[in-house]
Amino acid sequence: MSHFSIFSLARNALTGHKNWEKMWRSPDPKKEYDVVIIGGGGHGLGAAYYLAKDHGITNVAVVEKGWLGGGNTGRNTMTVRSNFLREDSVPFHELSIDLYHQLSKDLNYNLMVSKRGMITFIQSSAVNRIAMQMANTMHIYGAEYRMLSLPEIKQRVPIFSPSENMRLPILGGVYQPRASMVRHDAVAWGFARGADSRGVDIIQNCEVSGIRRESGAVTGVETNRGFIKAKKVGMAVAGHGSVVANMAGLRLPIVTQPLQAWVSEPIKPVLNEIVVIRSYYGTYLMQSDKGEIVIGQGCDPYASYAQRGTFSIIEDATNAMLEVFPSFSRLKLLRHWAGMLDMPFDGSPIISKTDVDGFYVDVAGSGGFKTTPAAAKTFAHLIARNESHPLTENLGLSRFQNGRLVQEGGVSANR
């Protein structure tokens, strides 16, 4: 792997950039691997990277039915944060932020991790109570989260000018300074390059059609490029968790729902922080490095694999946004799209063994981008050692047997 730097750019400029190496190989699948990871997004590629880096397991294939990072890795709002309620959530998400902030150097690939800070508006006493609970749980785990007064919000976000007759007046906000934005595609590409250079085979356009088992244990995967033998198979297929798990004869506690995101036309920088207008419809927005205002909201309220959602979500979110940023009224919506979220019943990630020996699942939960490195690292740990990483002991499927859910607001709200 050639080292990327300003010097390598300058050197290559002299030769018209004609000598850059491939970022990763395009190998044919071997007959057998120690581990096959299904899904070439951030989670799967990351898991392969950490299998090689942390555990020295390099005889690994990542099989991807389309192109690298073509699923949710490339369809999210690029936000990384750890403001959660539960003791099982906060440290896990904190690990993710820690890892993200060192990954560009580790991978020698610029993920453009920018620490923007996230402000969540408080518009009712009920939200205030939840925010305080979150703040205090986070405080325990060393994650900074503090209250902001209205003038403090105004000072940080000069463009913030809530209308005077807001239906739910903004009483203040909570602020996580370490919430960040990360260039989403780069996460997949960086992990891919890192894994490939350590010997992992990344096989694109390779669709899994079956998971072969013998006496309750995995023996390999059937693909459109033939059978690939492996005693350990990890699944990291955001948006298709049930489809793949079903190949192993399993049902999962998830519903696949569209999660939409959209961007404005690019404008000069006006918004540094990530802003959450929680109380109307749960709208969040931020400005990308490119200048687009990136906006998102909750899931569409039914199962769908269609990668598109209903326009009314955008209409609702727009109203919420304009209540706080009236000057965006004449900005324009440039593009909208949807990812498919495998939403667990309790909204929290599932990183788990299954009833099938050697078959492991990583289901991202309510937005898997933010957890990518932590999920990848702990998933690699689980696969390598066949036991949970300490941070994900309570994030396994067993919680759905004993009822000890890690409630962060998932499907249960709909049932």
């Binding site: 489809v243 079903n246 049902r251 696949t256 039914y302 199962a303 694999y305 269609a306 209903t310 326009f311």
Partner: protein
């Protein structure tokens, strides 16, 4: 904005309804006799099928009736459920 065929009111926008999920998820007749695994499966798991799914919808802002439709979760094409479900 899906158009949901309510058997009583006709085609209406999805925002008049609430989706009740897979109709195959039926409450066990005698919950006490289920194993923990069976109960967990009923409570939390779903088939979450990619393709045509038979599911409940509630016309909350209309005739207030619950009914089933067959909806393709990939194309969103909808058919009234082809046969009665008990």
């Amino acid at each position: 904005m899906l158009l949901i065929p309510c058997p009583w009111c006709g085609q209406r926008n999805e925002d008049e309804f609430m989706c009740g999920g897979e109709s195959a998820r039926v409450r066990p007749d005698d919950p006490a006799s289920t194993t923990d695994a069976q109960w967990s499966d009923y409570l939390y798991n779903s088939t979450n099928h990619k393709g045509v799914v038979r599911e409940w919808w509630w016309h909350v802002n209309g005739c207030t009736k619950w009914f089933v439709i067959d909806r393709d979760t990939v194309t969103h094409a909808i058919q009234p459920a082809s046969e009665e479900i008990s």
